[in-house]
């Protein structure tokens, strides 16, 4: 890469073809001045070398030393005319070389003398001593000569001092290697909040003419949302002074950046291929800017808020009283400064009685002259009333963090009440309601539509009895359920045991006999319809006698009625039972011998009497 204005060259052979001024010119004038006696290593200072009436063919060698770096060099010519003694006109030509230098080290340094060589001799200026300290001495512009050193007579137009109108001074670090033209990136802030705008500028500073910029490679802006502010297609210079050195500043790119997360963010260097000079003596050089750091602070307190900037929300409806099916347009407008793309406008919650269509969103970004990004977002809702009544569109609230006031703010809109009155109703539809065009559904929506769906509403009433656990989980449930089973099994077991244990006892025998008597009676029941009444009544009588033998434990066969009654009385059988038994025997006697007793009704009476006698006694 070419290095221009780099280390001191020992001799910059500048061939001076001095115009013949005056024959028999006087001694050439040749001297050197330094504008400061004490400088810092970060300071620049000016050395002026003035040659007056230089002979033709003379050459000048600038002071050379490794302790200094030449940052720039300029050259001006002045000619003056005066009338000398004897009326002879004298033309004086002065050539002034201005060098901007910077010391490479601290200490007491000496600027060697400049040399002017003519055909016959060599002239030297005085050397100059400088005290050089580290860093900067004071942020002042280099002192310029207040007066015209060449003493032009009054009335002559003052020659232009190129340092007089060099534009504002900027604080840019000049790279030592690329001091003729270099690329610089800068931010307008070093510390911002998440979502706050910071402006990045990529500028070419040049001491020479630039022809064009071929390619520009911008850094990756990871963690940022960016928007181009300026990206000029043609280079347009602006004068700037850096440490007293005039530069042409070409704005290459300008971007508004919005950091998306907190932390120490890095922005890599930009790069560009720059064509310098003109078509006859141009050169192409690759330049790389400086990298940047940006401290991004998290929003204080409420980290859930995402909107940053200064915003104002407004909402208005085209009409607040409409007929059923007549569309209503509600416009929500957000306006302010900040990153419009990242602002989250709350959605409009529309009551169930209004059918809302997808809103149309229009963004109109703006950039102020100061480079502040902002804009206007317009959200247009179209809704068609489906029911009559009064509906309230709730007000919207947009919370945001204002980085200027460093506080959270809210922009609120008022609720809008829309009254829907009954429409014409019953009109035939002429267009499909599924087209998505809200105006097309107007006719179809002219009736009060009662549509089911959505969440079922909460219950208005409830029972307030304490909730009981399931019955089966109560402690008493299982014992209660098992109790009849256990009791049955128990009684069965007891009965079985008793029957086993008491089969041979007199009581058991009596029970067995009584049981046999009952079975016999059951056998007699089968003879109810038999042809022989005698057989039926005999069977009934035998069953009853067997029962009596079992109960009385005495033989009763062959006993007369009176004897049987006496036996029963001796066994303390109640009189009513005795009479019932005797009545059955009487019936059986009659049944065997008396006519008409063979009828089924008579047989039933005998059977029932025997059964009742047995049951009552049992």
């Amino acid at each position: 890469m070419a290095r221009t204005g780099s280390a001191l060259r020992l001799i910059i052979a500048a061939a001076l073809l001095l115009a013949p001024a005056l024959a028999g010119a006087a001694e050439p004038e040749f001297y050197m001045t330094v504008d400061r006696a004490r400088v810092g290593t970060e300071d620049t200072f000016s050395v002026d070398i003035v040659v007056g009436n230089a002979p033709e063919g003379s050459t000048i060698a600038f002071p050379a030393a490794n302790d200094f770096e030449v940052l720039s060099r300029s050259e001006t010519n002045q000619m003056s005319y005066s009338v000398g003694t004897g009326g002879t006109g004298v033309i004086k030509q002065l050539r002034r070389y201005s060098l901007i230098l910077r010391a490479n080290r601290a200490g007491t340094l000496t600027i060697p003398p400049a040399t002017l060589k003519t055909s016959d001799r060599t002239y030297k200026t005085d050397s100059a001593s400088l005290e050089v300290v580290k860093g900067r001495t004071r942020p002042e512009k280099p002192q310029r000569q207040a007066q015209n050193p060449f003493g032009l007579p009054p009335g002559f137009p003052q020659l232009h001092d190129p340092f007089e109108d060099d534009g504002p001074s900027v604080d840019v670090e000049v790279p030592r290697s690329d001091s003729d033209f270099f690329l610089r990136a800068s931010l307008d802030k070093t510390e911002v909040f998440v979502g706050e705008q910071v402006m990045l500028s990529i500028i070419i500073y040049s001491q020479i003419d630039l022809a064009s910029v071929d390619t520009v490679t911008m850094p990756k802006f990871e963690g940022f949302w960016t928007q181009d502010i300026q990206s000029p297609s043609q280079l347009s210079p602006e004068r700037k002074v850096i440490d007293g050195v005039p530069y042409r500043a070409y704005l290459l790119r300008q971007k508004a950046m919005f950091p998306m997360k907190p932390g120490e963010m890095s922005i890599e260097a930009a790069e560009a291929d720059i064509n310098a000079g003109n078509i006859f003596s141009g050169r192409r050089a690759h330049r790389k800017s400086n990298a940047l750091k940006l401290k991004v602070k998290a929003l204080p307190g409420n980290t859930a808020a995402q909107n940053v900037g200064s915003w104002r929300l407004a909402m208005q409806a085209t009409q607040t009283e409409v007929a059923l099916g007549e569309p209503v347009q509600v416009k929500v407008q957000l306006e302010g400064r900040g990153n419009l793309q990242s602002v989250q406008v709350p959605a409009l919650q529309v009551p169930a009685g209004l059918k809302r269509f997808d809103p149309q969103i229009t963004d109109k970004p703006t950039v102020t002259k100061a480079g502040q990004v902002g804009g206007v977002r317009t959200i247009e809702y179209v809704m068609v009333p489906q029911q009559t009544g009064t509906f309230t569109l709730p007000g919207l609230t947009l919370p945001y963090f204002d980085p200027e006031s460093k506080h959270f703010e809210e922009s609120k809109t008022d609720p809008i009440v829309i009254t829907v009155r009954p429409g014409a109703g019953g009109q035939a539809t002429t267009s499909s309601p599924t087209t998505g065009d809200p105006t097309a559904t107007a006719d179809a929506s002219a009736k009060n539509q009662l549509v089911a769906g959505g969440l079922r509403q909460v219950r208005a009433t409830a029972t307030f009895a304490p909730v009981k656990p399931p019955l089966w989980s109560r402690g008493f449930f299982v014992p209660l359920a098992l109790a009849p089973v256990v009791l049955s099994l128990l009684s069965l077991g007891i009965g079985l045991a008793r029957s086993v244990a008491g089969k041979t006892s007199p009581e058991a025998l009596k029970r067995a006999q009584a049981k046999a008597a009952r079975k016999r009676l059951a056998a007699a029941e089968k003879l109810l319809s038999s042809a022989s009444p005698a057989a039926f009544y005999e069977e009934v009588e035998r069953a009853l006698r067997s029962f009596l033998e079992a109960k009385l434990n005495v033989p009763v066969i062959g006993l007369t009625r009176q004897a049987l009654d006496a036996v029963m009385a001796s066994h303390k059988v109640p009189e009513s039972e005795r009479r019932r038994v005797l009545a059955v025997f009487e019936t059986c006697d009659l049944g065997r011998y008396a006519p008409g007793m063979g009828e089924p009704s008579a047989r039933n009476r005998a059977l029932d009497g025997a059964a009742v006698a047995m049951e009552k006694w049992a």
């Binding site: 219950r459 409830a462 304490p466 049955s488």
Partner: protein, 246 residues
């Protein structure tokens, strides 16, 4: 200890509300729901539940309030609890809405729950329990009468057998309800996202994630991890604090 204190406080609260006071609290919750103050509505319904008045209506309202507020996990929890008390059309409708909003799609899941679970869900344990005891005792009483009688046993015996058969069926229903309730432990995922790991432990590989509102079955528990099973038999371990049992 804290749980004990909380239980004591809750038991005191339970005794604090008369039915009239409970009704007033319920109405406050409904009014808050009407003006979309869901936090207040939830607070009132939760007070009622803590006081022992967590009937199906209160649970349904609390679940619906959570659903309206976009809190899917608690919404599913309380609606499912309401469904366990009393399954009706409203509960099913809001449960369907909640399931529609749920973020997980269990691929290959069986369309219906197992028969026994469906049977248990259909049983009213109080009514069936009372009916069981009534028919059971009546059957045994008739059987005893039939046994005691010498004649005319058959009608009584048949009636006893009929009642005992019905009682046995009702008892089986009670047994199914008790068995399913005790053995099938279901929970609802409450946080927005819950990691499910292949093994219990913080370092185990995450197998998949489930999201708020998903109903899972608890298979076993170890430490602060439980093994869950999805309806499609997909299993994994997750921290039990992210789940609330139905």
């Amino acid at each position: 200890m804290i749980a004990l204190v909380l239980a004591l406080v809750l038991s005191q609260n339970a005794a604090r509300y008369t039915p009239a006071e409970a009704r007033a609290l319920f109405n406050e919750g409904n009014e808050a729901y009407g003006r979309q103050d869901y936090a207040t509505a939830q607070s009132r319904y939760e007070q009622l539940i803590a006081a022992g008045f967590g009937g199906p209506e209160v649970l349904f309202n609390l679940g619906t309030t959570h659903l309206s507020a976009g809190q899917l996990g608690p919404a599913m929890l309380y609606l499912e609890r309401a469904r366990r008390h009393s399954s009706d059309e409203d509960i099913e409708a809001n449960l369907a809405v909640a399931r529609q909003r749920q973020g997980d799609q269990v691929v290959g899941a069986e369309t219906a729950e197992p028969f026994l679970q469906r049977l248990a869900a259909a049983i009213d344990p109080q009514a069936v329990g009372v009916a069981f005891l009534f028919t059971w005792y009546l059957g045994f009483a008739l059987a005893l009468l039939a046994w005691q009688r010498a004649a005319g046993r058959w009608p009584l015996g048949l009636a006893a057998a009929g009642f005992l058969l019905i009682g046995s069926l009702l008892g089986a229903g009670v047994a199914v309800h008790a068995s399913v309730t005790r053995s099938v432990i279901e929970s609802i995922v409450i946080p927005e996202t819950v990691k499910v790991r292949e093994l219990p432990g913080d370092r185990a590989r995450v197998a998949f994630e489930v999201h708020a509102g998903l109903k899972v079955r608890i298979i076993e528990e170890t430490g602060r991890y439980v093994r869950i099973r999805l309806p499609n038999a997909l299993e994994g371990w997750t921290e039990k604090e992210g789940l609330v049992e139905l």
